[in-house]
Amino acid sequence: MKAASPAHAGLQGLRTRPLDQRVPIVLGGLALLLVAVSLVSLGLGAVGIPVGRVIDALASAFPGAPAAPPGDALVVLQVRLPRLLLGLLVGAGLAVSGTLMQGLFRNPLADPAIVGVSTGAALAAAVVIVMGPRWFGAVPFLALPVGAFCGCLIATLFLYLIATRDGRTSIATMLLGGVAFGALAWAFMGFLSYLSNDQQLRDLNFWSMGSLSGSTWAKTAAVAPFILPAMALMPFLARGLNALSLGEAEAFHLGLPVQRVKAAAILLVAVMVGASVAAAGIIGFVGIIVPHTLRVLTGADHRLLLPASALLGGALLVGADSFARTVVAPAEMPIGILTAIIGAPFFLWLLLGRQRGIGA
């Protein structure tokens, strides 16, 4: 046992509280964090805007509010707000997808990007970008998110089928199968890049690195109808995933419709990862950092873990995006690079921790 610092003791006290007491504390705290990160993020950029003026600019969007300086309103409302909202949607979607996948595979190492699910979505998006104009003359409306959804669905199903035998999921098979699938998808992406013109090549590059640049209200509006309904459905899976963490047979003994829970989880992951990849490319490790941190600090119960993942995932991605677009200003670092720099060591640490038997 480590010597308990006051902060450590406080968290331990929170952890052992009953769920109904933990929910408001944790979700309230994370919501405050989300608002704070969002306000700071809206002020950061080529033109720095203090938080007070950010709030004035936001308020000016509502009828009857006093007008803000036109420059502020333009930057905040037209440039940074859509990007912020897209970041929140994608971050929440990826973190919740990670949580769902880990619940489905009963293993904390499953992350959409690591096991090749995001790559499947990106490959499908690449096919749409490169082959769309050849087949249809243009990239059809909504073809990108729908294509990414299909790619993601196929990848998740494939992974589930090869890694699960008799209701037991082999983590080694899952990770290695994901590696093989990812390598195959990258190979096809490489092949597609030879068929691409200059603009398509730039698009593909964007997809493979992950970025929130080029966010518009239109893009945000195209992603929201995928991610928000999935978020609304996610609480219905919480009890099922809790029971499933004991094993499929045990979940059945507890009265769960196991096959339905699994199918719903796979579908929601495909919808959210598909939409996220279509809008922002491959952004890895959000789905592993967020749920893992929350499980250790606030518990593994999915009734709290799922909504908490959504809030922390949104805050984390917006925070990372703010950093990525200011640290090398006036250029921008692709956010996927940043999350990998933070996430890959985190993943290794997690892996080594499990080896020592502390697996959480």
Binding site: R15, T16, P18, D20, Q102, R106, N107, P108, R239, N242, A243, S245, L246, G247, A249, E250, F252, H253, L254, G255, L256, P257, V258, R295, V296, G299, A300, D301, G359, A360
Partner: protein, 270 residues
């Protein structure tokens, strides 16, 4: 009287081999039945068929006269609980949370306070109340088994408000337990049987099985060899034939062990 649990021509084939072969069985309400047999006899497979986890290749299982095929998972969870041999858990759940899983689903009709009460009682009955705030992953194998025993006890208690006829299935529930806790779990299971719960267990320890059970079911190579009271089933001839062992005493010793009462005077609560 209608048997609480009935198997008719129950058969389960895997890869062309019958793991359970044409078993007929009727178990009365509140009986404590123990399935015994050498390794590979099909004990666990039979248990998994009886509790509905596996669908039989041929034949059927009936609970309270109703075919298992016609009972959905949700209703079935009110009628029976199943304690697995081992369940690994990769997420950091507290012991109290693992036990709560038994009542979170089917106990939805109860109040939150009732559910918490059932969990507390179950933690007590399995002697894991002192571990309630520990992480499940930090427990020993035996402690984990007791936690799962608490979980199924809680599930039965939650289901009791809906279904009066209940069955408890235990798959080698005491394999990793020390002697004292083996006796304690057996005693709790017997107490449940005394309260009308039909108990079906797979046990390896023949002496314990003989002393604890109302009936033994002896299997060999997927077939039913004998069933009935221990002294009728475990004869010298059968022990030699099925297990390849000889009993060193003329009769089967009954009750080889007894828990020692605590110093405080009252019987020790394990």
């Amino acid at each position: 009287m209608m048997p609480a649990l009935e198997a008719r021509d129950l058969t389960y084939e895997l890869g062309g081999r019958a793991l359970v072969d044409g078993i007929d069985l009727a178990i009365g309400k509140g009986r404590f039945t123990v399935i015994v047999g050498p390794n590979g006899a099909g004990k666990s497979t039979l248990l998994r068929l009886l509790c509905g986890e596996l669908a039989p290749t041929r034949g059927e299982v009936a609970v309270g006269g109703q075919s298992l095929r016609r009972i959905g998972a949700w209703r079935l969870a009110h009628m029976r609980a199943v304690m697995p041999q081992a369940a690994e858990l990769n997420f950091p759940f507290l012991v109290s949370e693992v036990v709560s899983l038994g009542v979170d689903g089917i106990g939805r009709g109860l109040t939150r306070a009732d559910r918490a009460g059932l969990v507390r009682q179950a933690l007590d009955r399995a002697d894991v109340a002192h571990l309630a705030a520990r992480y499940y992953q930090t427990l020993s194998g035996g402690e984990r088994q007791r936690v799962h025993f608490a979980r199924v006890v809680a599930q039965l208690a939650a289901g009791r408000s809906v279904e009066s006829q209940q069955i408890l299935f235990l798959d080698e529930p005491i394999a990793s337990l020390d002697l004292r806790h083996q006796l304690a779990v057996i005693e709790e299971a017997k107490a449940l049987a005394g309260a009308g719960v039909t108990v079906v267990a797979v046990l390896h320890d023949l002496l314990l099985a003989a002393s604890a059970s109302d009936d033994l079911v002896l299997l060999r190579a997927g077939r039913l060899v004998a069933r009935g009271p221990a002294e009728d089933v475990l004869t010298h001839a059968r022990l030699a034939e099925v297990f390849g062992v000889a009993l060193t005493s003329p009769v089967l010793p009954t009750q080889p062990w007894a828990a020692i009462p605590a110093a405080g005077g009252s019987a020790q609560r394990l």
